[in-house]
C-alpha cells in the first residue's frame, strides 16, 4: 500500500529527490529551536521533578536574596541610626591654624565628601558656690557649620555632618550675642566670687535665675595643663587634674535664647552661633573639623590622609566606620560576618547538591535519547547546549520566583519583628527593607553560577553518551566497575547460584532472599545514580544539623537577657558613703520595705533582698585556680575577688523568708535547708568573662568545700590600704605601689588575724539561679563570688554584725496586681519607698517593660531562625525526594519486568527497603562528616567571640536530622512506588523511561 503511494507520487511531486529543500514552504511551528522544544517537552514529561527542581532553585535564590537583603537592610538601619544620632562625620580633629583646613582639602582631594567646622571659644569658670551644682566650668562652643566647596558638598544632606545639639526649650542661637545654655542651668543662678581654680575669679555670672531671655556675662579663657600651657583641654570637658585657666578676656553679655541637652561629644557646653567673635584676651579660638569621605577603603586610609595633612591627633567616629565596613569592628561583629559566610557556603553547597542531583537524574534518565540523537547526527555541542538550555529555562522560572520569595520573605520577617529591632537598636527608628540592586544582582549571579555549576557535569556527560551503547537494545545498563568485578569472579554458568541451586549466592541473598539479592545487584550496577542519592541525603543531614547548631548558638547569644520573675524593681542605696546600713534588725527592716510596697494597690506581692559584701574563706580545694586565671585574663575587671588559697570577698545577697524558700525549692534543697532559720548558703558557681570582644563563662568553684567561713574585717587598716585582690590575684590587704603603680599585697590574708564569725554550710553550688529567684543576673556581683543566704538565719547568727556592716543596698521586687499599669505602679512604689531612714537614693526599674523588649528581641531572633530552618528543611526535603523518588520512577520498566516475572508486592517492598537502607546508612556517614566540618567552621567563627566555647558534636541534632531525612526518604520511596504500581504492566513495559 505504501509502496503504491510512493510510486504513484513520484511523477508529479519532487518527493524523494536530491534537490535541495531550499526555502520552499517551511513548517511554521518547526523552527531551528528543535533542541529547545525537545528540552521543554522533556521538562513537561516529568512534571514533578521539574517542579521540585524549580522550587529548589527558587529556594536557594530566595535564601541568598533574603540573607543579602537582610544584611543590607540591617546595615542601612544601623548606619541611619548612627548618622541620625551622631552625624555622618568619619573623623574629626582640632586645629589652631585655619591653614590646616586647606591642607586637609589638599591631602584628601576628591575623597573629601562633606566638612563641618566648629569653634571652641573658651571656658568661663563658675564661682565656687555655683560650681557645687553646675560644675567648675561652662564651655562655649559654636554651632557646627558646614563648609561649601568640597568635592561632593552638593550631595546627600539628609544627615548633618555633626548634628546640632537637641533643643530642650527655646531655640538655637542665630546671631552673635545669642547663646543656648545646657539644660541643667535652667533656673540656676550663677553668682560672682572666687572660682574653684586657684587665683581665678568667677567669669560666668547671671542676672538672677537663668530663663529664656535672661542675660549671662561670660569672661572666656583657655583651659590648659598648669605645667604645660600648650597642652589644652576641650572647653566642655570635665575637670582635669592640675589644670588652670588663662588668657581670660573681658566679660561679654549674651542673651539666653534656648536650653539644650548635653551630650558626650560636647560635654557641659553652651552654644553660640558660628560667627560669634572670639572673646579670649588673645583672640585665639581653637577649631574642630569634622568630615566625611568617599572612596577610602579603610579608616587607616583616612588616617594616612590626615597624617599627610600634618594633623597629628584626631578621633574617629568609630561606630559609623564599623557599620560602613571601614573599620574592623569588635570580634563579635567579625564573628557575625563569619557565621553569615559559613551559612552562605552551606546554602550554596545545598543548592548545588539539590540542583545537580536533579540534573544528573534528568540526564541519566535520557541517556538513550541522547545516544539516539547523537547517532542521528546531533553534535556534542548541540547536546551540551540542550542540557544548558534546560538549566536556563529552569533558571528563568526559578530565579525570579526566588527573588520574589526572598525579598518578600525578608519584608514580612522585618514587618513582624519591627518591635524587636526597635528594642535591639535602642532607637525609635525601625528597620526598613532596603532592596539594593547590587544584592539582587549578587543573588541572581550566585544562583546562576550554582545552576551552571550544577548543569555542567551532566551536560558533559550527555555529550559523551555513546551512540552505539544507546542504540544497542541491551544498553540499558553500562556495567559498573563493581559489577564487572563480580562477574570476573564467576567461573561457570551456575556460579551465581548457591550450592543447592535454590537461590543466588551471597550474604544479602542468604539473609533477604531474592529481593535482597536484586537490591544488592542494583546497587552494584547503578553506583553512580546511588551516589547522587547518598550525596543528597548527606547534604540534607548536614543542613539540618547546621540549622540546629545555628539555633543553639543564637539562643545562647540571646540567653543573656534575664530579668528575673518580678515585674518592678526599686533599688535603695545606703545613705552614707561607707557601705553601711546601720539599722538594727535586718529582718525587721525588710518587713518595713515589704509593708510599704504591699500597701500600693497595683502591687500584689513584694519581696526584699539586701546586698553587700563580706570577707570569706573556704578550703583551697574548693577553688578552681585555672578558672580564676581565665577570669583575670579575659574579663575586663582584672582579678576575681577570690584567690587560690580560698580567701576572698563575696557579693552577699540576703533573702527574705519566702524568696529563700522558693530558691531552695527550685534548687531541690533538703527541707532543713529550705528553712530560712537554718544557717546555710547557695553559692553561684558562674563568673562571666565576657568582654568587649568575646563572651564566656567560667566556674570558679570545684564544689569540694562543704562550708565557707565568714570573716570579720581586720580592726585596723591604713587609709591607703584596702581588702581585695592584688594584681597577681592574691587576696589580702593591698595597696598601690608608688613606683610601679601596681596593686600589691601589704599584709597577706592569713596574717591579718581575721576571726571567723560564722561557719556556713554550702547547700548548693548553683550554675544559675533559674526562674525562681526574683532577681536577675545584673543584681549580682560581676567580679566577686556571689553568696546567697536567708536573712533570718544570718540575723540570728554570730555573723549578724559583720554582715550588716557590709550591706550597701536593698532591693524591693514587686509583682503587679492583675490589670495594674506598670509605669503608674512603679511611680507609686518609688514614692512609697522614699524617705526611709538610712536609705538615700533610689533607682527604679520597669522589669515588665524590659521583659517585653527582650521578648521582642527573642521573637526577632526566632522569626529569622525559623525562616532559616524552614527553608533549610524545604531544601533537604526537596533534595531527598528528588533523588529517591526520581531514581525509583526511572526504574518503572525494570519493576514491571520483575513483576511480570512473578515478583510479589512483599518481595518488591523488601528489595526497595534494602536499597534505601543502604543509601540511608551511607548518607548518614557522609552527613555526619559534613556536619562535623560545618560545625567546626561555625565553632571557629564563634570562638572569635566566645572565649570559653568547647567544640562539641551535637548528637541530638544529628539524630533528629537523620530521623527527618529517613522519614522523607520513606515518604519519597512510598510515593514513587505508588506511582510505578499505578501504571499497568503493559504500559510500564512499553514506557519510555529506561
Amino acid at each position: 500500500m505504501a509502496a503504491r503511494h510512493l510510486r504513484g507520487s513520484i511523477g508529479d511531486r519532487p518527493l524523494l529527490t536530491h534537490a535541495d529543500d531550499g526555502s520552499k514552504g517551511v513548517c511554521p511551528q518547526l523552527t531551528r529551536s528543535v533542541f529547545v522544544r525537545y528540552t521543554l517537552r522533556s521538562l513537561a514529561a516529568n512534571r514533578v521533578r521539574t517542579a521540585v527542581t524549580v522550587v529548589g532553585i527558587a529556594l536557594a535564590t530566595g535564601l541568598l536574596a533574603a540573607v543579602l537583603v537582610s544584611v543590607t537592610s540591617l546595615r542601612a538601619a544601623l548606619i541611619a541610626q548612627a548618622c541620625a544620632s551622631g552625624g555622618i562625620w568619619q573623623a574629626g580633629f582640632t586645629y589652631e591654624d585655619d591653614e590646616k583646613i586647606g591642607e586637609l582639602r589638599a591631602a584628601t582631594g576628591e575623597h573629601l565628601d562633606r566638612l563641618a567646622l566648629r569653634r571652641d571659644l573658651g571656658a568661663a569658670a563658675l564661682s565656687a558656690e555655683s560650681a557645687e551644682d553646675n560644675g567648675t566650668y561652662l564651655g562655649v562652643l559654636s554651632l557646627p557649620e558646614e563648609q561649601a566647596g568640597t568635592a561632593r558638598s552638593a550631595g546627600d544632606d539628609q544627615y548633618a555632618v555633626i548634628p546640632d545639639p537637641t533643643v530642650a526649650e527655646g531655640r538655637l542661637p542665630e546671631r552673635a550675642g545669642e547663646i543656648a545654655l545646657p539644660a541643667y542651668l535652667q533656673g540656676a543662678e550663677l553668682t560672682a566670687g572666687p572660682s574653684e581654680i586657684a587665683g581665678v575669679e568667677a567669669g560666668a555670672v547671671s542676672d538672677g535665675t537663668l530663663e529664656l531671655g535672661s542675660t549671662i556675662a561670660l569672661a572666656l579663657g583657655q583651659r590648659h595643663d598648669g605645667a604645660d600651657p600648650t597642652h589644652r583641654w576641650h572647653s566642655g570637658a570635665s575637670l582635669m587634674d592640675g589644670e588652670t585657666l588663662s588668657d581670660v578676656g573681658e566679660p561679654r553679655a549674651y542673651t539666653v535664647v534656648g536650653f539644650v541637652e548635653t551630650d558626650y561629644e560636647t560635654g557641659s557646653a553652651a552654644f553660640v552661633s558660628y560667627d560669634e567673635p572670639a572673646a579670649t584676651a588673645s583672640g585665639e579660638v581653637v577649631g574642630t573639623a569634622y568630615f566625611s569621605t568617599v572612596g577610602y577603603e579603610s579608616a587607616g586610609q583616612i588616617g594616612a590622609a590626615l597624617t599627610s595633612a600634618g594633623v597629628d591627633s584626631w578621633s574617629y567616629n568609630t561606630t559609623l566606620l564599623i557599620y560602613q565596613g571601614l573599620d574592623r569592628g569588635r570580634a563579635i561583629i567579625d564573628s557575625l560576618a563569619q557565621i553569615a559566610a559559613v551559612l552562605a557556603v552551606v546554602i550554596m553547597v545545598a543548592a548545588v547538591s539539590l540542583i545537580s542531583g536533579a540534573f544528573t537524574i534528568s540526564i541519566s534518565e535520557r541517556t538513550r535519547q541522547f545516544g539516539l540523537l547523537s547517532s542521528l547526527g546531533a553534535s556534542r555541542r548541540q547536546l551540551r547546549r540542550t542540557v544548558l538550555a534546560e538549566a536556563a529555562i529552569l533558571g528563568i522560572v526559578g530565579i525570579p520566583l526566588g527573588l520574589a520569595l526572598g525579598v518578600g520573605g525578608a519584608a514580612v520577617a522585618f514587618a513582624v519583628t519591627a518591635d524587636g529591632w526597635t528594642a535591639m537598636l535602642r532607637e525609635t527608628t525601625s528597620v526598613s527593607l532596603v532592596v539594593a540592586p547590587v544584592d539582587l544582582a549578587l543573588a541572581v549571579g550566585l544562583s546562576a553560577v550554582t545552576l551552571l555549576a550544577s548543569a555542567f557535569a551532566p551536560a558533559l556527560h550527555a555529550s559523551r553518551v555513546s551512540a552505539v551503547d544507546a542504540i544497542r537494545s541491551s544498553a540499558d545498563i553500562r556495567p559498573s566497575r563493581r559489577l564487572r568485578r563480580i562477574f570476573a569472579r564467576r567461573r561457570t554458568a551456575l556460579d551465581d547460584l548457591s550450592a543447592d541451586r535454590r537461590r543466588p549466592r551471597g550474604l544479602a541473598a542468604r539473609l533477604g532472599g531474592m529481593p535482597a539479592f536484586l537490591a544488592r545487584r542494583t546497587l552494584a550496577v547503578s553506583a553512580g545514580k546511588q551516589r547522587v542519592s547518598v550525596v543528597a541525603l548527606a547534604v540534607s543531614v548536614a543542613l539540618l544539623v547546621t540549622a540546629g547548631l545555628v539555633s543553639d548558638y543564637l539562643h545562647s547569644a540571646t540567653g543573656y537577657i534575664d530579668t528575673g520573675t518580678a515585674d518592678l524593681r526599686v533599688n535603695l542605696f545606703a545613705e552614707t558613703d561607707d557601705d553601711y546600713l546601720p539599722t538594727g534588725d535586718l529582718v525587721a527592716q525588710a518587713n518595713v520595705l515589704v509593708g510599704r510596697a504591699e500597701q500600693i494597690s497595683g502591687v500584689s506581692a513584694a519581696s526584699v533582698t539586701s546586698q553587700g559584701s563580706v570577707t570569706l574563706r573556704l578550703d583551697a580545694a574548693g577553688v578552681d585556680a585555672g578558672a580564676l586565671e581565665t577570669f583575670m585574663q579575659e574579663s575586663p575587671y582584672g582579678a576575681y575577688y577570690l584567690d587560690a588559697a580560698g580567701y576572698g570577698s563575696a557579693h552577699l545577697v540576703l533573702l527574705d523568708d519566702a524568696t529563700w524558700r522558693a530558691l531552695a525549692e527550685s534548687l531541690g534543697l533538703s527541707d532543713d535547708e529550705k528553712d530560712p532559720a537554718t544557717l546555710s548558703c547557695v553559692v553561684l558557681n558562674a563568673a562571666n568573662v565576657s568582654n568587649s570582644e568575646t563572651y564566656g563563662t567560667v566556674r570558679p568553684f570545684t564544689g569540694a568545700a562543704g562550708t565557707i567561713e565568714l570573716l570579720a574585717d581586720p580592726e585596723s587598716k591604713a587609709s591607703d590600704q584596702w581588702l581585695g585582690p592584688a594584681d597577681d590575684g592574691t587576696f589580702g590587704l593591698v595597696t598601690t605601689d608608688d613606683d610601679t603603680m601596681e596593686t600589691v599585697v601589704a599584709v597577706p590574708a592569713d596574717e591579718l588575724g581575721m576571726t571567723a564569725v560564722a561557719q556556713v554550710p554550702v547547700a548548693a553550688y548553683a550554675e544559675g539561679l533559674g526562674d525562681a529567684a526574683p532577681f536577675s543576673s545584673d543584681d549580682l556581683g560581676a567580679n566577686a563570688p556571689n553568696v546567697i543566704m536567708p536573712a533570718r538565719a544570718v540575723a540570728a547568727s554570730g555573723a549578724d554584725e559583720t554582715v550588716r556592716q557590709g550591706m550597701s543596698s536593698s532591693t524591693v521586687y514587686a509583682t503587679l496586681a492583675p490589670g495594674a499599669d506598670d509605669a503608674e505602679t512603679l511611680d507609686a512604689l518609688e514614692e512609697a519607698l522614699e524617705g526611709i531612714e538610712d536609705y538615700g537614693s533610689l533607682g527604679t526599674y520597669n522589669l515588665v517593660e524590659l521583659a517585653r523588649q527582650s521578648r521582642a528581641m527573642e521573637l526577632t531572633v526566632n522569626v529569622f531562625l525559623y525562616c532559616f530552618v524552614a527553608i533549610t528543611l524545604a531544601i533537604s526535603v526537596a533534595n531527598v525526594f528528588n533523588t529517591i523518588a526520581s531514581g525509583l520512577i526511572l526504574r518503572t520498566r525494570e519493576f514491571a519486568a520483575l513483576q511480570s516475572a512473578g515478583m510479589g508486592r512483599p518481595g518488591f517492598r523488601r528489595m526497595i527497603v534494602v536499597e534505601c537502607s543502604d543509601v540511608a546508612v551511607k548518607g548518614l556517614v557522609g552527613g555526619v562528616a559534613l556536619a562535623t566540618l560545618i560545625n567546626y567552621a561555625l565553632f571557629q567563627a564563634m570562638s572569635a567571640s566566645i572565649s570559653t566555647l568547647v567544640f562539641e558534636m551535637p548528637w541530638g541534632h544529628v539524630a533528629l536530622a537523620f530521623a527527618v531525612v529517613v522519614a522523607v526518604l520513606a515518604a519519597s520511596a512510598g510515593y514513587a512506588l505508588r506511582r510505578t504500581h499505578a501504571m499497568n504492566l503493559v504500559e510500564a513495559l512499553r514506557s519510555d523511561v529506561m
Binding site: 511531486r13 536530491h18 534537490a19 520552499k24 533542541f35 525537545y38 535519547q369 547526527g377 556534542r380
Partner: protein, 226 residues
C-alpha cells in the same frame, strides 16, 4: 562507480582476556545505487559493521570511504554532520525520541542541521508512509510498524546517499514487514540511493542485488544475486 569502499575494517571490543573481535579485517566495495543485504548468525558482527559505515562508532583499524572520502578522518563534530547529512539510519528498536511527535521525529536531522523543512516533501512523505492524521502523536501512541515507518521517513527526509537499516523489520509482522521493505526498495530504485540492510529474513535477502554473509566478524561469502 563505487560509492563505498571498505578496507581492512577491524573492530575489537574490550581488552586482554575479554577482548572480542567483532569485525576482523573486512574489505568490500559497494556501487552507487546498489541494494546490499547483510546476513549472518547472531553475534557475527553485522550491527557493528553497520555502525561503522554509518559513522556512529569508530573502528579499531581500517577505513571506510564514502564517495572517496575517508569517513573517520573527520573530527567528532564533522562526523555528527556526516551522520545527519550523508546517511540515513534505521534500527530495529528504539528509533524515536519519546518526547517528540511524529513530525518532529521525522524532521530531526534537518532541524539539527539548522535547515528549513520542506513542507511539501514532508506532506507527501507522511502520505506515502501512511502517517496522515498521526502527525502529532507521540511514539508511544503508535504501533511498532508505524514507529518503524516514522524512522524510515526520518532516514529518507534528508535524501541521503546511503540508507542503512539494521533489521528494520525484525519485530514486525509479515504484512508490515513487506510494506517497509517495499518503501526502502522503491527509494533505492527510483532515486538511485544505496541501500544496505541487515536481515535475518531470507526472502528479504533474496530481493537484494547482492548478499554478504558475515561469520565471526569475517566475510564468509559475497554473492551477487542479480
Amino acid at each position: 562507480m563505487d560509492i563505498l569502499q571498505i578496507e581492512h575494517l577491524t573492530k575489537t571490543y574490550g581488552t586482554g582476556d575479554t577482548a572480542v573481535r567483532a569485525l576482523d579485517d573486512v574489505s568490500f566495495t559497494v556501487a552507487a545505487g546498489e541494494f546490499v543485504a547483510i546476513i549472518g548468525s547472531s553475534g557475527s558482527g553485522k550491527s557493528t559493521l553497520l555502525h561503522l559505515i554509518g559513522g556512529v562508532d569508530r573502528p579499531t583499524s581500517g577505513t571506510v570511504r564514502l564517495n572517496g572520502e575517508d569517513v573517520f578522518q573527520r573530527s567528532d563534530e564533522q562526523l555528527a554532520v556526516f551522520r545527519r547529512r550523508e546517511v540515513g539510519l534505521v534500527y530495529q528498536f528504539y528509533n524515536l525520541v519519546p518526547v517528540l511527535d511524529v513530525v518532529e521525529n521525522m524532521c530531526l536531522p534537518v532541524l539539527m542541521d539548522g535547515r528549513a523543512v520542506n513542507e511539501r516533501r514532508l506532506t507527501s512523505m507522511l502520505h506515502v508512509l501512511g502517517l496522515e492524521g498521526r502527525e502529532h502523536h507521540l511514539p508511544n501512541q503508535l504501533s511498532g510498524g508505524q514507529q518503524q515507518r516514522v524512522a524510515i521517513g526520518r532516514a529518507l527526509m534528508n535524501a541521503p546517499a546511503v540508507v542503512l537499516a539494521d533489521e528494520p523489520t525484525g519485530n514486525l509482522d509479515s504484512r508490515n514487514s513487506a510494506e517497509i521493505m517495499s518503501l526502502l526498495r522503491t527509494s533505492n530504485k527510483e532515486l538511485g540511493q544505496t541501500l544496505i540492510v541487515i536481515t535475518h529474513d531470507e526472502d528479504i535477502a533474496l530481493t537484494a542485488d547482492r548478499v554478504i554473509a558475515l561469520e565471526d566478524g569475517r566475510i564468509a561469502s559475497d554473492t551477487r544475486v542479480r
